[in-house]
Amino acid sequence: MTGGVRLLPYGDRALLVELGSTGEAVAYAAALRALGADAVGEIVPAARTVLAVAGEGAAVSDLRQVLAGVCPAAGSVDADDTPLVEVPVVYDGDDLADVAELTGLSVEEVVAAHTGQTWQVAFGGFAPGFGYLIGEDDRLHVPRRAESRTRVPAGAVGLAGEYSGIYPRASPGGWQLLGRTDATLWDIERDPPALLAPGVRVRFVQVPR
């Protein structure tokens, strides 16, 4: 990836690093974080980019130099030494049949595909404790619903684009819903408060309703 990193302007305190995929963005953000450079403050990974904000008192020119020198480990995701969380799911979501139709799978095959791969938290952002999870293959890539729901309950497990995710609290939302979990995604009394922090690997486990 060296030399392949594009840096886009982002005001006078930050730069936006453009990458090829979510996996690359995750790996780049992890490598950048591991450097622990003073020139780097907040690091915000997302779908194809990493936003890097200069550290307090650091110049953007120093930030630029650090960003250009980041060498993410080969392979996108450093899977073996990151924590694995099992999330129990009742697969009774309102969009199961639609997802089956969109993917050409049966409902049982959708559930098998969802439980049969290891997901990893790529980035957060929608609400505290929400993690955008990337999977191992593209069998379950589906568009968002044409119309958002005004209320999706806490614990709803869904799909949108290349991601799976779990609503940490009730909110409006447009993801295709597969089921629900009673896992606590976000608890400010817990350390860490988020169950699904970036890098965490996730296995969904089917449980009876």
């Binding site: 982002y10 690091i43 915000v44 194809r48 953007v60 952002g125 505290p128 408060p193």
Partner: protein, 287 residues
């Protein structure tokens, strides 16, 4: 003896704010903190507080608090407004002592939107994830102040205030915010319309962002942009074409293109704009 203040009136919105939370973007928690960081820092300097001490951010005046058992040193910064202690004018941007039982009342600012009531020792409700800031987007931190709330005041630092007053900002003049083009300037037809248009701040503005009216920037592509990190000062263009300037409680990531980013030093000034105020942008080079 308790060092504390009781809230008697809040005005439209009164929030506890410090300099916010850092390092939590990955779990969807934004920075938050004072919308006008410079004003908070100024209050803390005047009172010899650590710069991250929390104050009350009063939106458009109307805040009234009573000092409980122990007197406190205070200073109001940000949007200049009348400040009265038991009916006596002390003025904003001045350090004053309020005796036990005294009522402190903030009037509506003549210009600007947000005034900060700083207290020596800082207001000190419990921290959430390392900060006392109320984040109106995520709901983290102390809820908006309500009548009857008792706000604890922290332990003063060893140093003492050594100024009587600080400089009030001029918030009455025309506002031209400096902005750097990009990162997604190519996602609208004509990004120069951002600097050519006399914008006005709409009513649909809060600590998350300020929606601007006066023109609609036309999208240049009908693709969807994958979610990207967002930051204070980002000018995001949603499908309506009316830009939104992100302030303290902006979302951590967003799916609409950011076509320009206001330079950090000008974002505090932007946070003092009121609905109806005119505002312009001008381009500056990226550093």
């Amino acid at each position: 003896m308790t060092r504390a203040m009781r809230v008697h009136a809040t005005g439209p919105l009164a929030l506890v704010q410090d300099l916010g939370r850092s390092g939590l973007s990955g779990v969807g928690v934004g920075r938050s903190g004072a919308a006008d960081r410079g004003a908070l820092r100024q209050a803390n300097r005047a009172l010899a507080n650590p710069e991250h001490a929390a104050a009350v951010e009063a939106t458009f005046g109307g805040l009234e608090v009573a000092v409980l058992d122990e007197g406190v040193w205070c200073c109001v910064t940000g949007a200049a407004c009348a400040v009265q202690v038991d009916g006596r004018d002390v003025g904003s941007h001045a350090v004053f002592f309020a005796e036990p039982g005294a009522r402190i009342v903030l009037g509506r600012p003549g210009a600007g939107l947000r005034s900060y009531l700083g207290v020596r020792g800082g207001v000190a409700p419990g921290e959430v994830l390392g900060s006392r800031s109320s984040d109106v987007l995520s709901g983290l931190g102390p809820p908006p102040l309500e009548v009857g709330d008792v706000l604890p005041v922290g332990v003063p630092a060893d140093r003492f205030p050594h100024v009587d007053s600080v400089t009030a900002p001029d918030l009455a003049g025309e506002v031209v915010l400096r902005a750097v083009r990009g990162p997604r300037d190519g996602w609208v037809d004509d990004v120069d319309a951002l600097v050519a248009t006399p914008w006005s701040v709409t009513e649909r503005s809060n600590r998350v962002g300020m929606r601007l009216g006066g023109h609609a920037l036309r999208p240049a592509r009908d693709q969807e942009l994958p979610s990207e990190g967002a930051w204070r000062g980002a000018v995001q263009v949603p499908p309506s074409g009316e830009p939104v300037l992100f302030l303290a409680d902006h979302p951590v990531t967003g799916g609409y293109p950011v076509v320009a980013v206001v330079v950090d030093a000008d974002v505090d000034r932007a946070a003092q704009l009121r609905p109806g105020d005119p505002v312009r942008f001008r381009w500056v080079e990226a550093p």
